[in-house]
Each structure stands twice: as C-alpha cells, then as structure tokens.
C-alpha cells in the first residue's frame, strides 16, 4: 500500500450546517442560538442541529429539546427545511468546484478533494481561496472547517481539531504522533461499543492503539475494517470504496394522531410510493418488500417476496397483503415508527423474468401506467396523479430525509 510523502487530501466540513444555512437565509436568526428541530409544535423531539452560538452555550446536536432549553433558555427553535439545505449544498459545491475538483461527497455537509502538485505546496492558500469565495458569493454565516493530511481519514480528523471556521494541516512527518493526544471520540470508526472492546483489551489511549499491529487491530475489530483503519491512521493512502446500492427505503416517526393501524397504513403507502419512485428513477427493480414497525411492546417486522417489479400496483398489493398480517397479529397496537424497504434489487437490463408468470401482460400494463403517472407528475412538478389517496402527514417532507449517503432531490419532496 502506498504511503504518501506529502499532503494529498483536503476534507471540508461545514460548521453547524443546517443552522448556519438558516442564519444565512433568515437574518433575524443571525448571531443568536438557533436549534433546528424536525417539526414545529412539539417539545417531545430532539434538536437535530445547533448554531455555533448554541454550541457555545453548551447545546449539542441530537439533544432533547427540553435539555437544550434547560442549558440555553434563549434557544430559538426553527423547523427544518430539507429542500433549502439541499439547494445550499448544491450551490456551495458549485462554488468549491470552481477552485478545486471534488473527489467525493461524504454527506450533505462534508466533502473531500485531492490536491494537485501546486496545491500540495501551499494548502493554506487553497483553504483561504475556498473560505474567501464562500464568504463573498454565498455569505459569511456559512463557514467551513478544513483539514489537510496525507489521506482522507486523517484530513477528516484534522478538520475537527480547529472548529469552527478553522484550518488544520497535518504533514506526513507529523503522523501518527499528532494523533496520540486525541481521545477515541475524535476518531471516526471508534464508537462507544468499540471503545468498550478496546478497554477490555487493556487499550485505553490512542498511543496504545497506535502501537499495536494491523493484524491485532483486525482481531480487535473482528473484521478487516480494523486493519484498514490502522493503515489510515498511520498515513497510508486508503479510503472507503464506493458501495453498491442494496435497497431503497423510507422511514418515519408517526405523528400522535396517525398511530392507529389504519392511519399508519396510509403513511406506509405513501412511503412505499416514494421509495418506488426513487427505485424507478435510478433504473432498478425490486424483488422483496420489508416492513418494520416500532410498536408499544417492541417491534414487528415482516418481509414478502415479489416478482421482480417496479410498478406501484404490484408494490401496493404486496403491502396490502403484509398489512392484513399486521391487522391479524397486532390488532390493537399503537405504531410509533415505520420503515418500508425495497430490496433484492436488479437493474432493468439484468432482470430475471419469472418463469411461471412469463413476464405477464398484467405487469407490463401496470408498468406502462406507472410510467405515464411518473411522467405527468414530473411534467407538473408535483404529485398530481397517484395510485389511491395521497395525503401527506403532518410535518411534511416525506421522502426528503437527509442521510449520510443520500442528498435528496427536489422530486423526493413531491
């Protein structure tokens, strides 16, 4: 494995991204402690992102609203606007691309770039160019912390050392000594459970961890991930490979008035249609539908094999069949959260046709109908036709959830 002799990677992480975007867009929120919440009207949820001012006051991301308010009584709570964050993300990336090509987008607020020969000589200048450009063309309330190091993992860790709005440069000769003073919390890939496992192996500090061999780390991790992390922490050129898509799914915490079996089904239908639309947009078919419910006594899950399909009708029929079982097995239960997943994917051009159904006419007919519905919705930029009722739940943003690997598209909000 290659060990770079110079800085090769830049890792950029926007500071308190959601809250900063809100402050940039809404002037009345500027220089005030702001907490972004999933939806308005309840304090029984969590603050999903805090502004720099709120963080200074002691608030943290994913903190219960009550706890955050106790720490910072002047905290201003604003409901999330995923479409706004999506647009900001696209604009920010376009501005950064004007200075340096983007190698990989790691999440809505994190990205990484490879430096060319001239940029490696003067990383500070690259950071200044990016920051100046963002300030000039986007605004001064969205700031970013930037880390430079021989590989992505180290650049990410470096970027976290000087937040907010900082720049940290780790030259190869500083590796791994610069990591010795850090705690396990600072290392992506070492979570609470892994930390406990390390403690059981009598490893309590980063220095001790850095002194073990790659194979020992693999053994501790029970997988090759440990060995990969060892190489990353010692400055080798190693990074996460692009993974193939294995599923399309959506989940939602149900609002209090939608927790009955009947009302939850309406939301399940909606989530399934949204997942199916994404599946079709990316040219896939699915052969299995999985339903997961969080209920009062724990959880309930079920899966159903389907012919390899992508039309709404086949999927909604599968959901109907699964829901009959739900009604039978947990008739009076409350449903708090549900997840719908389409898996066993295959590409349209690699689809194994069912031997007995012989790619039946019925399926082809529904596929054509679904295509027509999709194209009409696309033409009018909203859901004007749907298979059955279309009643988005309170809180909106169904299908527009922002995750690490998915930055939603405007179509996800229709």
């Amino acid at each position: 494995m290659r060990k770079p002799k110079t800085i090769e990677c830049l890792y950029l992480d926007f500071d308190g991204f959601f809250a900063s975007v809100m402050q940039q867009v809404y002037p009345h929120l500027r220089n005030k402690p702001v907490g972004v919440v999933p939806f308005a009207g309840t304090d029984r949820t969590a603050v999903i992102a805090c502004s720099k001012e709120a963080k200074k006051a002691g608030c943290k991301n994913v903190m219960k609203i009550k706890d955050a308010r106790a720490i910072c009584p002047s905290l201003i709570l604003v409901p999330q606007e995923p479409d706004l964050y999506r647009r900001a993300h696209n604009n920010l990336l376009s501005e950064i691309s004007a200075i340096i090509p983007i190698d990989a987008i790691k999440s809505i607020d994190e990205l990484t770039c490879r430096l060319d020969a001239s940029q490696r000589k003067n990383p500070q200048k690259v950071a200044e160019q990016i920051k100046t450009r963002l300030k000039k063309y986007i605004g001064s309330y969205i700031t970013a912390s930037i880390g430079f190091a021989p590989n992505r993992q180290l650049a990410k860790i470096a970027g976290k050392q000087n937040k907010p709005d900082g720049v940290t440069i780790w030259q190869p000769d500083m590796i791994p000594n610069v990591l010795k003073s850090l705690s396990f919390d600072d290392i992506p890939g070492i979570g609470k459970r892994m930390e406990q496992r390390l403690h059981r192996a009598q490893i309590f500090t980063m220095e001790q961890l850095l002194n073990i061999s790659p194979k020992h780390m693999r053994k501790l991790w029970h997988s090759v991930a440990g060995e990969r992390l060892w190489y990353a922490l010692h400055g080798y050129d190693i990074f996460a490979q692009k993974s193939e898509r294995g599923m399309f799914g959506h989940g939602r915490v149900l609002p209090p008035d939608s927790r009955t079996i009947k009302k939850a089904k309406e939301i399940a239908r909606l989530l399934l249609i949204k997942a199916a639309r994404r599946l079709r947009r990316e040219g896939y078919y699915a052969a299995r539908l999985v339903l997961w419910l969080a209920i009062r006594d724990g959880s309930y899950s079920d899966g159903l094999k389907m012919p390899i399909v992508n039309d709404d009708k086949a999927m909604l029929d599968a959901l109907d069949m699964m829901w009959l079982k739900v009604e039978e097995k947990i008739p009076h239960n409350m449903i708090f959260r549900l997840h719908i997943t389409l898996c066993d994917l295959s590409f349209a051009n690699a689809r194994q046709i069912d031997m007995f159904l012989d790619d039946d006419e019925e399926r082809q007919k529904w596929e054509k109908i679904t295509q027509a519905v999709d194209s009409l919705n696309k033409k009018y930029s909203k859901t004007i036709i749907s298979n059955g009722e279309w009643k988005p739940p309170k809180g909106g943003n169904v299908g527009g959830k922002i995750s690490f690997t998915r930055i939603p598209n405007a179509q996800d909000f229709w």
Binding site: D103, A155, I187, I190, A225, F239, Y380, S381, T405, I407
Partner: protein, 107 residues
C-alpha cells in the same frame, strides 16, 4: 422542453449587476454550458411557482446557440413553461453522482 427566451433570435444582455448595483459574480459566471460534463444534471427551478425541471447537460448542449453561453446567461434566458407562469428560473448543477458514504467509519 424548457421554454426559454433562449429560443428567441436575440438574447438579453447578460445581467452582471444585481438590483442593488453590486457586481454579480459566482460560479455561474465562470462556467459555460460546454464546461459541464454531459452526464451532469441541471436543475431549473421556477422562482414563481417552484416547478422543478431536470435536464442532462447533454440535452441542453444539443442546442448549438446555447453551448457557449455562460450559465448565468442560460439562467437569465430561461423561463418556466407552466401555463400562465413564465417565471424566472434558478439554475443549479446537481452533484448527486459524487456521493460516497462511510464504510465502517472510514471516510
């Protein structure tokens, strides 16, 4: 098809000064349509009715008269085609192909 003033024989003068008189300079002023990779997706959002249209750069590049326009010119020349709207358009380039998640914490 995204209706556009671009279909007209005469183009508007590119707008390089904003309403407040400041020079408008951002990535859209530095990139021509031809600079965008053919597979990249352009997002056109109507500022009036919020309708969103997606087009691959290759589709827009097929129009010869647009190829050498700066993206801000494309933006200011395009209008929403929804009936009775014809609102101004906000242009964005989608970056969805570059997303890659973390694998066991590895960036």
């Amino acid at each position: 098809m995204l209706a556009g003033k671009s279909a007209l024989p005469v183009f508007q003068t590119p707008k390089i000064f904003g309403d407040l008189g400041f020079l408008l300079m951002n990535w859209k002023r530095e990139l021509q349509l031809n600079d965008i990779e053919a597979e990249q997706v352009l997002e056109f959002t109507c500022k009036i009715c919020n309708s969103v249209y997606y087009k691959k750069a290759a589709e827009v590049q097929e129009c010869v008269e647009l190829r050498f326009l700066w993206l801000d010119e494309i933006e200011s020349n395009a209008v929403c085609y929804q009936r009775l709207c014809y609102g101004n358009i906000r242009l964005a380039v989608m970056h969805e192909n570059g997303a890659s998640g973390f694998v066991a914490g590895l960036a």
